[in-house]
């Protein structure tokens, strides 16, 4: 599948942003010592990443001026549900943030609602891909689980970074949560990768119905030129590159951040280490998301 850069950026950015917002939502339960500066920074970054990400998703549309119509089919379409949930969660989050920032009211109920809605939005994002039966790699319940776990991991690292930046130290507790979140997310992702390496559901034989006669292969493409299907779904990267890129994404997305977080706990330069950890993680996420598309094989390729 052709990896559209706007979609890669959008899912990573909004995933991390919604994760941070969800964490802030739960934060209302116990951390009421967060300063105004802290709240501003945390909510500011959270909203910037979520809204920025969602807006950038409209860039891959052929007709973005009609994007408002995409909110109408929430009864059947996961893409529509994601749009509706994104708006609802950000509105609720904005009310929650506004009350806390300007009226010093941290409502636990609104906080929990914010967290639940944000996570549902990320779940819906994952489901957009997981519902596609024609892509074997994606059509598994683990797909939205991975999206959720990455969103949480990204949110926690962001929170840790902001906490260190504003309060001057990265505590053991918070750092441990971040490391566990990273480990769990990437462990599940690696499990997802292993499970994805299996025989395709559809073959040239099932695609043409001629399998009973013998082995089927394409002799002539329908046109000598390219076409939308080949451009969109015929993206091939060598198996060799996929293995290397998986390794790079794990190193950047999990190993480096965990090491840097460990470094940051005792050190005075904790903001620097955590900043690097965040950068490494987000870069690793971009690579992971790129692979998510580039490694996917669509059933229509059985006709080519």
């Amino acid at each position: 599948m052709h990896p559209a850069y706007s979609v890669i950026f959008f899912t990573v950015s909004s995933g991390a942003g919604l994760g941070l917002i969800a964490f802030m939502g739960l934060g209302a339960l116990r951390i009421d010592t967060m300063s105004t500066g802290f709240l501003l920074m945390a909510f500011g970054i959270g909203f910037a990443l979520s809204v920025g990400g969602l807006l950038s998703s409209t860039f891959h549309l052929g007709r973005p001026e009609r994007a408002w119509r995409a909110f109408s089919q929430w009864r059947s379409s996961w893409l529509s549900r994601e749009g509706v949930l994104a708006v609802v969660s950000l509105v609720v989050a904005a009310i929650f943030a506004g009350l806390w920032l300007f009226l010093d009211l941290s409502s636990a109920i609104l906080g929990i609602l914010t967290a639940v809605l944000a996570m549902l939005t990320v779940w819906a994002t994952g489901m957009i891909y997981a519902q596609i039966k024609a892509v074997d790699l994606w059509y598994r319940w683990l797909t939205p689980v991975c999206y959720l776990l990455f969103s949480i991991a990204g949110g926690v690292i962001l929170f840790l970074f902001i906490h260190a930046a504003m309060t001057g130290k990265a505590g053991w507790e918070l750092s441990s949560v971040a490391m566990v979140a990273l480990l769990v997310a990437w462990a599940v992702k690696m499990f997802w990768w292993i499970g994805g390496d299996r025989a395709p559901r559809s073959t040239p034989e099932s695609a043409t119905g001629l399998g009973h006669l013998g082995k089927v292969r394409l002799l002539e493409k329908p046109h000598t030129g390219s076409n939308y299907l080949l451009d969109e779904m015929g993206f091939h990267i060598g198996r060799k590159h996929a293995r290397k890129l998986r390794l790079i994404s794990v190193l950047l997305g999990a190993v480096m951040p965990i090491l840097l977080i460990l470094l940051a706990i005792p050190a005075p330069l904790d903001v620097l280490w955590l900043g690097l950890a965040l950068l490494a993680h987000l870069t690793g996420m971009l690579v992971e998301r790129w692979l998510f598309f580039a490694e996917a094989r669509h059933a229509v390729m059985a006709y080519y």
Partner: protein, 247 residues
């Protein structure tokens, strides 16, 4: 509305005869013409006279080689367009409601004024029936010539999809596959028409007729054409050689 209708009154669709198709691509061109000259915007035809022509087609013909274990390879031409599935995955994924299935005849269409060109329906379709028009930036697909089949302004024999009308080999048939007594249903029953990719669970309405059994079996050894071209002393070629010498 992108919820699928529970049932449809009729199941209009095509039957493609893989035994008869000669791969002439007349159906491809006539479909392209009808959907360029008729409603809406013309189908994209980019860099038509240049080095890298490309475009949007609603119907395309592939050519496959089928190699049995013990016989020579067989060539089959394979026209493919939207199969107007009963359980169309392209309909439910659409966020705007632009992709819909009609309850009166089961035809799956795109409401081009509502389409935002997100391409998700093309991802959902395992058959590659939907393409994004690079010029119009909306999704295009086979309309089953809904603007022909009910059109009282054209002669009755033309009230079938353009591809069916233009096939010189008679490899394309149109009708109600939900009606057991229709000609197409009888054809499917007689010839053993099948679904494409049944494992995808789309319940396609279009059916494909398999190539018939060959009546002659051809030996798999390579035939020495060079030797055949040299006239031999005996046999027909020998006689012919002699006869021509005498002329």
């Amino acid at each position: 509305m992108t919820q699928l209708p529970e049932t449809t009154d009729r199941k209009l669709g095509l039957v493609i005869d893989l035994d008869t198709c000669v791969g002439c691509h007349a159906c491809v061109i006539s479909c392209k013409e009808w959907n360029t000259g008729g409603y809406g915007a013309p189908l994209a035809d980019t860099d038509a006279y240049g080095d890298d022509p490309s475009g949007t087609f609603l119907n395309r013909v592939h050519t496959f080689e089928v190699k049995p274990a013990d016989k020579p390879a067989m060539i089959t031409h394979f026209p493919k367009s939207c199969l107007h599935c009963e359980d169309a995955p392209c309909v439910t994924v659409c966020p705007t409601g632009a992709s819909f299935k009609r309850s009166e005849d089961g035809i799956v269409l795109v409401h081009e004024d509502w389409c935002i060109g997100c391409g998700l329906c093309a991802w959902a379709c395992p058959y590659g029936a939907r393409e994004k028009d690079p010029v119009e930036q909306v999704m295009k697909k086979c309309t089953l010539c809904v603007d022909r089949i009910y059109n009282e302004n054209i002669p009755e024999e033309d009230r079938v999809p353009s591809c069916v009308r233009s096939c010189p080999a008679g490899a394309r048939h149109f009708g109600d596959l939900g009606d057991e007594t229709s000609d197409v249903s009888k054809l499917v029953a007689e010839r053993g028409g099948f679904d494409l990719m049944p494992e995808q669970g789309t319940k396609p309405v279009n059916k494909y007729l398999p190539p018939r059994e060959k009546q002659q079996s051809i030996p798999d050894e390579a035939i020495d054409l060079v030797a055949l071209a040299e006239p031999k002393a005996g046999g027909f070629l020998g006689w012919l050689d002699g006869a021509l010498e005498r002329l």
